[in-house]
Amino acid sequence: MSAASATPTISVPEFVKRQSFIELDARARAQSLMDSGSWRELVGPFERIESPWLPKQGIAPQSDDGCVVLKGTITHQPAVVIALEGGFQAGSMGEVSGAKMTGALDLATKDSENGTKTAAVLLLETGGVRLQEANLGLAAIAELQASLLALRQHAPIITVIAGTVGCFGGMSLAAGLSSYIIMTPEARLGLNGAEVIEQESGVEEFDSSDRSLIWAIYGGEQRVGMGVADELVMDDVPKVASAVQRLVKAGARSVHRSQQVELYRGRIAALDTAKQIDPPSLGKLWNTKGGAQ
């Protein structure tokens, strides 16, 4: 090979160069969003605060109960990042994970009230309540909602739904109460999952085997287009991190989506339920950003 031969230029597509956020586990996701070296983990895996209920039902628990809490800074502003591990029991909320989440948010509220505004970032990959923990899981979600309402008056609560589990059930309410929602096109957000709707209302209502239909309803693109989520970002760590940083800087919201009851009531009233509403028409009907800025 002569030294004169030119190095061939290979064009690498953009998606190959991406650093996937989805492929990270909960802990690595949380770490990737904080200023490096600024964070410490609260109630980490070596504390072994596990679910006491799962082993009684023949299910292996996890040492952090699927909930990772990091306290540190984002763009030099105090923040707490709470990440649910979608790989463990579908990120479901149990007694322990619920208490960790609520405790972390309440500490952020206390700090904010004492003058240190502390933002919260929720990384939600979750199917909602952990059914094996029944009422304790439901109670955890109720407490969580109270904590979200308290904190969001002082500091922004930023929910990131990256995928691939998505955010469903009771935890979609937590997402709805947060100040901002960031989604990727792979992410899904909804109250009832497709299989639940099909089971309750029949396959004519929702064919849960139709993946393109599922993403056309629940997917990040549609949700952001409808104004029920705020930002659509590609599955790339720097892109997700910079969206989070921007919203931390934006600060607390003056009017939250969940306060705009009349707006959403009006939109629902305007829907003609006599005929099946398809994803494109839903996108068109709701195509104004719902959140006040």
Partner: protein, 98 residues
């Protein structure tokens, strides 16, 4: 649900770090590895799959034959195969030695 305990008295080369790897998802497990207080290796396993004590013994014997380290290991297992188990253990050891 089964809890298994193993001791490796000859594994006594000290470690200073700790490591946490893996997720308790179907066919996977998590490993918590840290310095053993007694100076010899000890393993506790909590597994949702009963009746595989001998397989655990064989995999752990093999691991400690390679790494004679004084570690305390706890495993929460959701049905990891022996191949996955050894990979997770090696991964934890790699993190400890970083």
């Amino acid at each position: 649900m089964e809890r298994l305990e193993f001791d490796y008295p000859s594994a006594n080369r000290p470690v200073t770090n700790k490591a946490h790897v893996g997720v308790v998802g179907s066919g996977d497990m998590e490993v918590l590895m840290q310095p053993a207080e007694e100076g010899i290796a000890h393993v506790s396993v909590l597994t949702s799959v009963n009746g595989f004590g001998k397989s655990w013994q064989a995999v752990l014997d093999r691991f400690f034959a390679k790494h004679d380290r004084a570690v305390r290991i706890h495993i929460n297992d959701a049905g990891a195969t022996p191949g996955s188990v050894i990979l997770r253990l090696e991964q934890a050891m790699e993190v400890i030695d970083q």
